[in-house]
């Protein structure tokens, strides 16, 4: 491994949506006085967004679920309001499809009213109570006696946002050190001297300030500076992804009224910005040693299938194209359940800021969390906005096949590779694959290409495109069989069938 020894003003641990949002927010600034603010993000994975940020319902929440005055309530409503501008700049798909929280019985009504009252106290805009007839105008066929409509609820690409934040931060000067599993954090000199953040493979970064945005591992990272009174439990949520055949079935987000001690928001259907539907998530605490155990379990898979069939009677077996799981970092132990508020604070160790228990609504809150963290940093390093910050990601970013025909025809003329389809199910072109391969962070696992270009996400799950992407990486980028990884630690191949040299050529 390259022996790096770099000096930073701020080092962010964790390249999830929160870490990347902080990095991008910091990238907007320079030190007051003109000097560059040196910022780095480190993550143990070979790419950004491989943890909870790519494993969730990808919903932007309105803010009705959280007790007034809590960090979650304040940051969610604020973050929600920031999303349109942010997604516009970063070219991230977001759809404001709204949400109906539905009371099915009289017994659900108190819970529903509580949500409305919370929403009012939290400043959630546009809320409306709807009777069944009114709900039909939004989602035909919906059942329930009363619904709470929150028009600011939205769906978004969660990994798309994380990648965009990271790439834009990088374009504005933030360093990303990936495969950087933090092993120790020390401050060898006196308080005020830089922290030394060492990786498992022997690299060291020095930084005046450290922001712990390590998600499922935030307590472990805090323990490295001696903060041992915080604790995280992982709570797994399993999902199914449904075929795009059902695209358009759901016009909005539909949630049940949550119970007081539910660890999540209940199993439900969520449309995605790409046109799939998710069924999930379950909520099961998992053993401590396995915080990143994303296994699918037969009992929950059966539950989800049953629930899916109840909600979508037209569902066929072939519509279940994939399952996945994501783990929530919880501050509440299994015996307690429920949720605790986000902890975002500068700790008893000066210069060490930690973010604990950023589960839902972490995605929605991320831009607001970034502002809050920036304000904490300003107390140490006075900052001024840069005039040369480039907020927009350059070029065309999006799904080519979703463009109008005439525009596609024009683009193909200048970029012929937009005509060649590599991923058949999602109609992803060679040009889009190439852009994903040549991403600014220089990450080239199969998962990286998948999250950037959507290839392998369709109904054939890569059966068609994986060999084509492999061929492209081999023939055009010089990959050997041992260079291919799905993710970190997940090699794809054992080697060549035959030595490429063979025996004597005849």
């Amino acid at each position: 491994m390259t022996d790096i020894d770099l000096n930073y003003d701020v080092l962010v641990i964790g390249a999830g949506v929160v870490g990347c949002a902080i990095a991008r927010e910091l990238a907007r600034h320079k030190k007051t006085g003109g000097e560059r603010l040196r910022v780095a993000v480190v993550d143990k994975e070979p790419d950004v967004s491989l943890g909870t940020s790519s494993r969730n319902s990808a919903v932007v929440h309105s803010g009705i679920n959280y007790a007034p005055g809590t960090e979650r309530a304040v940051l969610d409503v604020k973050g929600n309001a920031m999303m349109d501008k942010l997604c516009g700049e970063l070219k991230v798909p977001i759809k404001r499809i709204g949400k109906l929280t539905v009371a099915l019985t009289e017994g659900d009504l108190p819970g529903l009213h509580k949500q409305k009252n919370q929403g009012e106290a939290n400043g959630v805009p546009g809320m409306e109570l709807m009777d069944n007839a009114k709900m039909q105008t939004i989602q035909p066929g919906i059942e329930g006696i009363l619904g709470l409509w929150t028009p600011t609820s939205a769906i978004i690409s969660s990994f798309g946002l994380t990648i965009a934040l990271a790439e834009n931060a990088h374009a504005n000067g933030v360093d990303f050190h990936l495969n950087y599993a933090v092993k120790s954090i020390a401050r060898p000199g006196k308080p005020g001297d830089p922290f030394e953040v060492r990786s498992a493979d022997g690299r060291t970064c020095r930084s005046a300030l450290v922001v712990n945005a390590a998600g499922l591992h935030c307590d472990e990272v805090s323990a490295m500076v001696g903060i041992t009174n915080v604790k995280i439990w992982a709570c797994r949520g399993e999902y199914y992804v449904l075929d795009k055949r059902l695209d358009g079935t759901l016009k909005t987000l539909i949630y049940p009224v949550p119970g007081p001690n539910d660890p999540g928001l209940g199993i439900h259907l969520t449309p995605t910005v790409d046109g799939n539907i998710l069924i999930g998530p379950s909520a099961v605490y998992i053993p401590e040693e396995d915080r990143e155990d994303y296994r699918a379990t037969s009992a929950i898979m059966a539950d989800l299938r049953r629930e899916g069939l109840r909600l979508l009677p037209d569902l066929a077996a072939s519509d279940f194209i994939r399952s996945f799981a994501g783990n929530r970092p919880k501050q509440t132990p299994p015996e307690k359940g429920g949720n605790a508020d986000f902890v975002i604070e500068e700790t008893s160790v000066p210069g060490f800021i930690h973010l604990l228990g950023i589960e839902s609504p972490g995605l929605t809150s991320s831009p607001a969390i970034a502002l809050k963290v920036k304000d904490m940093i300003v107390k140490h390093i006075p900052l001024t906005e840069r005039t040369d910050f480039v907020a927009e990601r350059p070029g065309f970013i999006g799904t080519f096949s979703e463009l109008p025909l005439e525009q596609r025809m024009d683009l193909i003329k200048t970029e012929p590779e937009y005509g060649e389809i590599i991923c058949r199910c999602e109609q992803i072109t060679k040009k889009e694959i190439r852009q994903a391969i040549e991403n600014p962070l220089g990450v080239r696992t199969m998962a990286s290409i998948k999250y950037r270009a959507r290839a392998q996400m369709g109904r054939c799950q890569g059966g068609f495109c994986t060999p084509r992407i492999v061929r492209m990486l081999r023939d055009e980028y010089g990959y050997r069989p041992e260079d291919f990884f799905v993710r970190g630690g997940a090699p794809m191949f054992a080697g060549n069938v035959r030595s490429e040299k063979g025996g004597d050529a005849r």
Partner: protein
């Protein structure tokens, strides 16, 4: 659609695999102007990676490899000067037979008088099976692994388990063994193999690879690369039996668990599809519910023998040419053809019987294996044809010819045709 560049064609064949090749050749020989569209860089489709022998026993009386079998048709197609668009994919098909076609540097609209759908099939994946466990690398569909080994010179892994005894899985068991991998076992959910008997013998028995029937994978282990699988025997409802779990260490799991006709284009165009086969509902000319749109090969229903694909596709190609020439008598659904007891589905789904019918062929699959079985085609109580089969097996498609006399009798009866097996 409003593309700036529009091309008019008589017949477009979508897919350059065995079905598309045979359909294009038959149509061209019938005097039709035809263009063939293939998404890959070469013609031949899946045959290119099927380097094992056994193709063409019916048609050529020889046991050819897949590329050789395809090669004969490709040579014939070239001899007929049929234009071929390679590296070209159809993005969209409309109900009025307009195609949006994409290739390097070009997006084109083609208007066709007739279309043959010959897109083949795709493999069922882990997602559709809902196998619990982790998501390590090393889990491949058998066909994807076959592509890596035979086309790209890449070994997916060294210690292999196979779920599903479909033919591709069996073939890959032998292929990986010959290239130095250790194939631990093949597991099949059903109490019988879904592969051809010859492949059980030559691919498993020859190499001492055990086949476990009524067994399935209940867990996949490995956070990075696959480390092993847990299998369990299943009861007669195909549910795993507690206490029968067994762990097999392996770095590779191949899935050979069924094929799904590729019909997204057909569905978008509004072609009526069969919930049983996943393919189009067609008449005896392979014409779908949209006049002028035909379907054949594995896009229509999954075949066991390529020879039969060629035969069926030639029928579709000839019919498409006749349609273009205005000589295909169509209209009305005519006689319904129904699967009776012991039969899963019958192809075609319906047919119109003209005044002077020609002999026709029914293709179907039985639901369970039978020794000394009988297959029967009947109209009400009238048996039109009965055949004895020493062995009937769901893995093997049954082809039954109906004579002119039988068809006349069927027409006279005014009843549906029912095919059953006992």
């Amino acid at each position: 659609m409003s593309a700036s560049k529009v091309i008019e064609r008589d017949l477009v064949v979508i897919g350059g695999g065995p079905a598309g090749l045979a359909a294009a050749i038959a149509a061209k020989e019938a005097g039709c102007d035809v263009v063939l569209i293939e998404r890959d860089r070469i013609l031949g489709g899946i045959l290119n990676q099927c380097i094992h022998d056994g193709f063409g026993l019916h048609r050529f009386g020889e046991a050819l490899s897949g590329p050789e079998y395809a090669g004969r048709f490709i040579a014939q197609l070239k001899g007929l000067d049929v234009p071929v668009l390679q590296n070209t994919i159809v993005l969209n098909l409309s109900s009025d037979r307009k195609l949006l076609v994409s290739r390097m540097g070009e997006l084109t609209e083609i208007h066709a008088k007739a279309i043959v759908l010959a897109m083949g099939c795709r493999e069922r994946t882990r997602g559709a099976l809902s196998i619990p466990g982790h998501r390590p690398s090393g889990v491949y569909t058998a066909g994807a692994a076959q592509n890596f080994v035979n086309m790209e010179n890449i070994m997916p892994g060294k210690r292999v388990c196979i779920l599903g005894s479909g033919d591709i899985g069996l073939i890959m068991a032998r292929r990986m063994t010959l290239e130095g991998a250790k194939v631990e076992a093949v597991f099949e959910l059903l109490p019988w193999s879904s592969g051809l008997p010859r492949n059980i013998r030559q691919c498993l028995v020859d190499y001492g690879i055990p086949l476990y029937l009524s067994t399935t994978v209940v867990n996949i282990s490995g956070m990075g690369r696959l480390e092993g699988i847990t299998v369990a025997t299943v009861d007669d409802k195909r549910q795993p039996v507690a206490g029968t779990e067994k762990f097999f260490p392996c770095d590779t799991l191949l899935l050979s668990v069924g094929l799904i006709p590729e019909n997204e284009l057909a569905r978008e165009a509004g072609v009526a599809l069969s919930p049983i086969t996943g393919g189009a509902l067609v008449d005896a000319d392979c014409m779908t519910s949209i006049p002028g749109v035909f379907s054949c090969g594995n896009a229509l229903h999954v075949h066991d023998l390529v020879d039969r694909v060629s035969e069926e596709a030639e029928r579709a190609g000839r019919a498409a040419a006749a349609f273009v020439a205005g000589k295909l008598s169509s209209g009305g659904t005519g006689v319904s053809i129904l699967p009776g007891s012991g039969v899963r589905y019958v192809m075609p789904d319906h047919m119109t019987i003209p005044e002077n019918p020609e002999e026709t062929t029914l293709a179907f699959r039985v639901t369970t294996p039978k020794r000394d079985g009988v297959v029967r085609a009947a109209a009400g109580d009238t048996i039109l044809k009965e055949e004895k089969h020493p062995r009937l097996h769901p893995a093997e498609m049954v082809w039954m010819r109906l004579s002119v006399e039988a068809l006349r009798e069927l027409k006279k009866s005014g009843k549906a045709l029912e095919v059953s097996a006992s």
